[in-house]
Every structure is written in structure tokens, then in C-alpha cells.
Amino acid sequence: MFKSAKILYVNLTDKTHRVETLPPETYRKYPGGSALGMYLLFQEQGDRAGRDPLSPANPLIFSVSPLTGIPISGQSRMCVTTKSPLTGTAGDSQVGGFLPAHLKGNGYDSIVVTGKAQSPVYLFLDKEKVEIREAGFLWGKVTGEAERMIAEDLGTDKTESSIIGPAGENQVLFSCIMHQRSRANGRNGVGAVMGSKNLKALVVKKQPPQKPTDPVGMKTLTVDVKERMAANEAIVDLAKNGSAGCLAPAAEEGFLPTNNWNSGFFSGFKKIDGDTLRETVLKERDTCFGCAIRCKGVVEIPGKADPEYGGPEYETLATFGSYCGNDNLADICEANQLCNMYGLDTISCGAVIAWAMDCFEQGLLTEKDTDGLDLRFGNSKAFAPLIKKIAYREDGIGALLALGSQRAAEKLGKGAEALVVATKGQEWPAHMVQFKPNLAVNYAVNNFGADHQSSEHDPALMAPEDDQNWIWPNLLAPFKKCDAYGVLDENKAKFAFETQKCYSMMDSLCLCQFAFGPSWQLYGPEDIVAFCKYGIGWETSIEELQEIGERRINMMRLYNLREGFTKADDCLPEKAFLSMPEGPNQGVCITREQAEAAISAYYRLAGWDEITAIPQKETIERLGLEWILA
């Protein structure tokens, strides 16, 4: 049964706060996370479009869900919603860890922060106690140091924090919000919005876990978790190697983005893959609240990487590794740590450096432009000084790259735009569309820029018919088999749309997409329905959950339309159409014509106008979103 949502509104300009509730019938339509965040973003912004994302008027919204904090793997996630300074679209970023569960434990479903403090502050919550505390002494501190100083200031370490580093303070457009120094609301530049408000941290007091409505029912999902994990090869590998485990298989197929996406074949991959990381620098595995998988890697390299900053995930290994032509694992670990200290998204940061290296190799940037740094592919010694320059927006190359690759290319000119691998201004994550062509559709149409966690990946459509990877997606909709890489057709467009709805729902219910999902994960669509029932007494269905996901996608689309985005922004960069130049899958590619046809098919399936990419009236009415247009 749905309860009301409890929303805390904090105005930093006048240092006031208030609590409001959202009725259960409304909360069920927008049940937490990204869906609730979008609902509240519309409520806060009204019909005023075109606001500067870094102005006091742009709300910064932290949301969890009714399921958050109920002990089961993969439920402690929190979404940050705002207008993104990187993309200019509806902004969306997810984080795991412990803070989400404890935010819910304090009784809040969402915190809406507006305004701007006159001087740095941090927000501290202990149930009904809401304090806006002075944070001048924290400003300029890296995330780990700030976290320690907050504990001293409060006189307790029984807290969890989300903190920005110097990059967020300096409003780097891909700065993030860090939790426990190694988990990030990484994408869309949400750290810059927090910095623009002079808000250094959100701190919550630790609270006991949530109790499920039906503890006996919950046990049917949790009691055999070890057996479930052991029976799932993907989860076994995740527990052993973290996401780093998928680097070698992608590389062996020749689909690891290399040298700023000029190739998919990286000969040095064995020096940076999951096995090497585990055997050489891994200190231990870490986890999130209530999660049995333990996918987080913690590395230690004396003098280079401190365990308190965690370790590089697959994306970071790729962006600071193959993207930059670098096979030096220690330098990747150091780059990961510096990003976590300064509060930079490791995907965008590694990718923007790879773009700069591509420009350097082609003579579009020289050592005069880079403050003397040699930015040839493979020179990982440039990472540390360059990351610092970016975090502090130092004049020259630091300030240029702090804009993200798309804006930097526009500023640089000289054809540098053709080297950018981004959509809606957000750098692409490390999954090649030649290998996983449904992602070409998703990267193009996704409302907050390219994202690898917004639809399932294509290999599920190649799975044997007795395999969970094939059975679970077909619970969402019937799909046709696919038997080769590089296939982009209407079936893939349908796969993109149907699984996007599922991922969108999970970003609303704040479920980790390594634990829950429609393919290889630990828990599938029917398990999510069961979790809703046993966790909070919500009798739902896969159909209702899919509609929740679809509603959130359409809310974002309507938001973006209001901000001036059009079909032309649903585009792919030049390098998407590269025919693999070498490696075991040499020659595999997708074409512009295939991509255009698949994107059109997506619009039809979504109930959007094929010419304008605008949701049709019937779609808006079916999803109950007329209020947005009123």
C-alpha cells in the first residue's frame, strides 16, 4: 500500500525549510527517484523555461523511493534531478552506497534544494531536525578531508554524506557529487549545480533499516541469495571482478573504445583488465547497504592510490585506459582517485582528455595550448596535472576541458567538433554501438544524453532460449532473435524502447541495475513486482511498472521540448559510423540509414511524432501528463 511521500523543501537563500506531503495516489504515479524528481522539478519551475542551470532558481532534488532501505541487495540508490549544466536538458544522476537508505530512514522521500546560500553551507538532517550549517571551513577541501571535518564538526561519525569537491565548487560542467569518496552521482554535472548554491554537502544521521510490510514474503527473495548468486555467471563475475570483469571480453571481441573511438582494438587491454586489477592492486571488495553482491573494488598502490577512494570501475578503466591509449593501470588508479577527490565524473573526464589527445595528435592542440603537456595517446603521465587543471578551471587547457568536449570543441573550432563523441553534450560511455547497436538508438534519444544504464544491452537478444538473458527481456515484450554483431533494425529499436522503460522504472524505484534488471541481473522483472508487494504491500504488475518508466521518459522529453530541444538533438556523432578498422570483428559497423530508420521506429513505438519527436496527444493522455501542458 502506498503511503504519502514526505518532501523536505530547503531554501538556501533565506535559510528556511518546510515539509510537504504528496498524496499516495500521486506518489504511485511518480514513485520515487527520477520520476518523483521530475515531478517536483516541474512543480518548482512551473512554466518558466530557459533558466540558467547554475542560477539559484534551478532546484537540486535528491530522491529515494518507497522501497529504499528495506534490506535486500540493490535497493540503496538515490537520484539527483535538476536542470543539467552539461546538457541543458532535464538532468539525472544515480548513486548507490549507504546514504540513500539512511535518507529514507530519516523519513524523507525527497529533498528539494532551491536558492543560493550567501556563503558556503552544508545541510544536516536528523529526522525532524534540519540544520543549515556554516561550511566556510570546508570550502576548497577534497571530498575525503571534507567528510572527516564534517564528522568532527558534528561530533559524530554516525552520519552519511554526499559532498562536492573543488570541481563542483568551481562549477566544472561534469563535476559530480561524491558519497563515501568512491560513489558518485557522476553524470550530468550535478556537482556544479550544488556548487552554484554554495552547498558543500548533504549529511544525514544514520538510522535503523526500514521494515518490510511482509517479512516472510521478503525472505522468499533474500533467503537463498547465495544460491541465486552462485547460479548466475554474470553475478559471480561481478562479485569477483566488479564491473571491470567486462573489459576483457569486450576487448577480445575488438569492441573496446580505443584512442578516442578511432578503433575498438586495444592491444594493451590485458594490463588493465579485471584479472590484472584483482591480482595486482585490489585490496578488498566493498558493498552498498544490504547488498550481497559486493561489486565495489578497493585498490591500494602506496603513494599513488589510497584505499579510501575506492578503485576504478569498468568505465573508468576504459575512459582513462583504452580511450586514451593507456595501458598503465597504476596511472588509471591515480586518475580515479584524483577524480574522486576533486569530484569529477570519471567517464566525462577520461573522455574529454581522450578528445584532447585526439586533437593533439591531429595538431588541433599543441603544447602551447596545453601548458606544455604532451597529450599524445598513451601518455598517462599527463593525467594527474591535467585533472587538477580541470578541477580548478585553470586558465588555458584546464578551463577549456572543464566545459566538456562538445563546448570545448565549439570553442576550439578547426574541425575539432568531428572528434567529439557525445550526445546532447554528454560524453559517451564505453560501449561501442557497432557491438551493441540498440545503444545507438538509446544514446541518441535518451533525454539526458548518452547513457549506458538506460536500456539493456544487445547481447541479451543473442542468448540461448533457455537462458535467463533471453527469458527475462521477453517478459517485457516479445522480441526476435538476433544472431550477429552490428545488427540495427526495428527489433533493436523495440528492444531499446521496452528495456529503456524498464531501466527508467528502476531509476524511479531507485533499484541498482546490477542487482535488478531485465536480463543478466540477480533479480528480474517478476522479482521487482514481488519486492513491491512484500516490501510495501504494493500490488503491482510488470505492465504498471513499465508504464511508470514510460511516464518518466515522457516527462523528461516534455521538459526538454520546453527548453528548446528538438529532434535534431537526437543525433549520433561521426565516430558512431566507423567501420571497425582492425581486430577480430574488423569491418563491423552500423550505417546512418540504419540508425535513422531505427530512431524513427523508436519514435513510432514510443507514440511520438516521427517528424518532430514530440509525444503525441494520445500518449500524453494515456500517461496522465496533460498537467505539464496545461
Partner: protein, 69 residues
């Protein structure tokens, strides 16, 4: 002595002994994790990998299933 059988794996020629199963071939080729297998264009069920024996001249295609991360 068993002269072995000539088969094709992902387009390349490959020699295997008689009586080798798909599961053994996958191990021999170093595949770890989930894969899909087609024999002469027909996809196998994963339950068939241990029992399906390879026959002379068959064309086998193996694709890795690499998900997100």
C-alpha cells in the same frame, strides 16, 4: 590414432578430436562466461552444450554475451 575432425569456428579452421562436446570446445578455445553457440546456423540451448557432440565439417559460431558495466 584419431586423426581428428576438421571444423570451422567463427570462420577459422579448427581441429578437434571425435567425441568432443560444445562445452569442451568452449573450454579449449578459452571462452569464459556466457556465450551463444550456433551449429550450421542453428542456435543451441545452453543445456545442450555439455551433451552436444561436434561432428566432422560442422561450422560453429560462438558469440560472447557481454552486458553492461
Amino acid at each position: 590414432m584419431d586423426p581428428g575432425m576438421k571444423i570451422k569456428v567463427n570462420g577459422g579452421e579448427f581441429m578437434v578430436k571425435k567425441g568432443v562436446s560444445i562445452a569442451q570446445l568452449l573450454e579449449q578455445c578459452g571462452y569464459q562466461g556466457k556465450v551463444s553457440v550456433w551449429v550450421d546456423g542453428n542456435q543451441l540451448l545452453s543445456a545442450e552444450y555439455p551433451s552436444r557432440l561436434i561432428e566432422d565439417g560442422e561450422e560453429i559460431r560462438i558469440l560472447r554475451l557481454v552486458a553492461g558495466g
